[in-house]
Symmetry: C2
Amino acid sequence: MFDYPAGHRRASHKTSTANIQRSSPKKKAATRYGSRGISLEERINNSNQYYLAQNIAVIHKKPTPVQVVKVDYPRRSAAKIVEAYYRHASTTDYNGVYQGKYIDFEVKETKNKTSFPLANIPEHQIAHMQNCYNQGGYVFLIISFSSHDKVFLLPFAQLRKHLDHHQQQSLTYEFIEENGFECPQVIFPMIDYLEALENYIDTQMMGGCSR
Amino acid sequence: MFDYPAGHRRASHKTSTANIQRSSPKKKAATRYGSRGISLEERINNSNQYYLAQNIAVIHKKPTPVQVVKVDYPRRSAAKIVEAYYRHASTTDYNGVYQGKYIDFEVKETKNKTSFPLANIPEHQIAHMQNCYNQGGYVFLIISFSSHDKVFLLPFAQLRKHLDHHQQQSLTYEFIEENGFECPQVIFPMIDYLEALENYIDTQMMGGCSR
């Protein structure tokens, strides 16, 4: 666990992040360089640890579902699984709570420079996201374009709109840039997707919609 | 999957359940009898399926976390896990969204007639529930007293109060009866814990508190 800077609520979190950016540009640059070897999933998990430690949000990755077929008990204390298979997740990978609200998202990465292939998101995940959206949760994709070193939060409502009106089996980079919200990549947290979510919520509020 | 009766929102769900109870008492009795062989977890999962099918809530059990040590690839299509171990869950087993709100709970059963031993709830689960509660989620235990054939929803706030003021390592049945909310056991859903949650929310509203 990192020794995170002090802070308590979302407002002070913003301030503390800003302070870090101003006061230690060298450290920031070093961390950005160092993050190149860290997977997107690790960076999101790391961000969730930060949000948790700062009391900003409680968001966890769900365990990968495994179908256990055979278990041995070589010692009384330790059950050893000796035959099991990965199963397809019926939901998205991440969910949790942020200021009382339900948060649900899937994290995807592409090396493609111009588009994000929708084949990356199975039909049952879309159905799950739709259900959570219908229940009033904040539902989105986090899409990383590694070639651009950019990470976007794409609200489910935008994805839904595309699916309803277009035949293409991919989202263009321009579409995501226009309809998504860029996630700042800083030190704490490494990918500040809740900042992007706040920006999305702000635009919704201005439009007279709560989500 | 059951062929659930029609309905769309919480209000109509209540109505439809009431209708079933009135119109088919025989079916209800048969189901109650039949549920004796069904585990508590299965009945909760079954209730979640009902809530999902009726668009009442989206609540899932998280997969059991497994530490995979060795994987074989006997065929290209199927990865076979040949060494793995169960890990302790860092969170509770169930979470999801109900009317935009985050829901988080743990399900426990006891054969004890007079009390529920707190040793059933590890420290890290209490910490997780506290974090979710602090974020404004609805957090609770579902405790089944199989000897009484009763299931209660105990709000985390009540559990917290007990932990803060008492040394006993168990909750008495009377404490849970007084501070908890009984979950109706009907056909659809088998354990209507959202009805109990609604009753809890109602008392909170009357007390001028939102949770």
